[in-house]
Amino acid sequence: MTAAAPFVEDVRPDGPVASEQLVLALEGFEGPIDLLLTLARDQKVDLTRISILELADQYLAFVAAARRVRIELAADYLVMAAWLAYLKSRLLLPEPEVAGDEPGGAELAAALAFQLQRLEAMREAGGKLLGLPQLGREVFARGAPEGLEVERTSVFEVTLYDLLRAYGEHKRREESATLTIQPLDLYSLEEALLRLTELLGTLPDWATLSSFLPARSDGSLLGRSALAATFAATLELVKAGKVEVRQDGAFAPIWLRRAAPRVIG
């Protein structure tokens, strides 16, 4: 509107001359709607009472003028021209009987008028907005803000769980780092010998080997080692002539008793 306005003020808006002037100002337009709005203004009426038919004529004259002076028009200008030609025909011809879903010519014209009014309204609003006192231009903020000092203190998020986990991990690393082989808890032959010798003195007759085992001689490693150690001790004592041993069959209980004192020839 800015560049074109002075020309059009002076010239009759509907003549080819005006259109040619507009063509020369084409650079200043932001598309066909902008051009239409400028043309509409030239009707010097309230936009609500704009003559869309006249507007279409002006636009088509503009396009014709542009062609005459061989100016390349962007595609959207041509699309608009085609649409306006169509609109014009719809406005001039009686509405077809079977309209279908298609909007009628009057509706299309009203829609175009609304579009132009809305854009015009936004332009005016933009102007008013920019006319407001603006910060840094008309209104000023504190030039030397002292700022609100913020002292940041770090608060560490650490829970008891984190603490214990850390200690646990430390402990585990420590254990795997210093590889101390835990002493095997086994029942030794010496222990079995001692125990067997003591117990034999109290037994008058045959007794099973298992009755000589220490308490808790279950299937555990300790229990099994006690069984082995006691059996080995039995054999030792037999060898020394202190114990007699018998077994009635394979896997049958092993019996032992104190050997009767023997006269050694």
Binding site: I33, P103, F114, A125, G126, L132, P133, V139, R142, E146
Partner: protein, 205 residues
């Protein structure tokens, strides 16, 4: 940790006003009521205090202005001609930028497609960029529509910059709404800008 104390109780009314004054003076950016309330201490009523402070400053060379829930001291607009401290180096906004800003301000939230259908042309790349760079606009929520297009809205700084208390204070906004001018829907496909999204281009009767 003196801030942790229930300072509200140990400050009389006048002292609270003094603190409010100092807080707002110290900051060049508007401060929101919640922040101010937290500074004043529990049990304080920042809104009432702010209203009282604004009253005291009314008519002075420096005034207390509100944008939404944020408050700031600003020079009185009527002094503008006398305040130009240095040559302004303000970039002139292009017509496209002004129009786009107005459309976003008045129609928000508004999609780029809607902006284009109102303006009748594709939005050049730099326009939204420039407005965002000025911190006047920001992306809003995506529209629940095919393609989920992004919407644009204005920022708090926009209000601050143009001295508006709220969007209701936009010049002529009520008249425009009453006149039905704030309907962003595309009117006719043929009138759309080139770059608009094809979605939602439903003709309206």
């Amino acid at each position: 940790m003196t801030e942790g104390d229930p300072v509200g109780s140990d400050m009389d009314h006048e002292q609270q006003l003094r603190l409010l004054e100092a807080l707002l003076f110290a900051s060049s950016e508007p401060l929101d009521e919640a922040t101010l309330g937290a500074r004043l201490g529990q049990g304080s009523n920042p809104r009432r205090l702010l209203a009282e402070l604004a009253d005291r400053y009314a008519g002075r060379g420096v005034v207390l202005v509100r944008t939404e829930h944020r408050w700031a001291f600003r020079t009185a607009p009527d002094l503008a001609p006398r305040l130009r401290l240095q040559e302004e180096v303000s970039r002139k906004l292009s017509r496209a930028a002004i129009e786009t800003l107005a459309i976003i301000a008045y129609h928000q939230p508004v999609t780029r497609g809607e902006i284009e259908s109102i303006r009748g042309v594709a939005t050049s790349k730099g326009t939204l960029d420039l407005l965002m760079e000025n911190n006047w606009i920001k992306p809003g929520r995506r529209r629940e529509a095919p393609g989920r297009p992004l919407t644009w809205i204005t920022t708090d700084h926009f209000l601050d910059h143009f001295g508006l208390s709220s969007l209701r204070d936009l010049p002529g906004v009520e008249d425009l709404r009453a006149a039905g001018m704030l309907d962003p829907r595309p009117v006719l496909t043929a009138l759309r800008g080139g770059g608009g999204d094809p979605d939602g281009a439903g003709d309206e009767g």
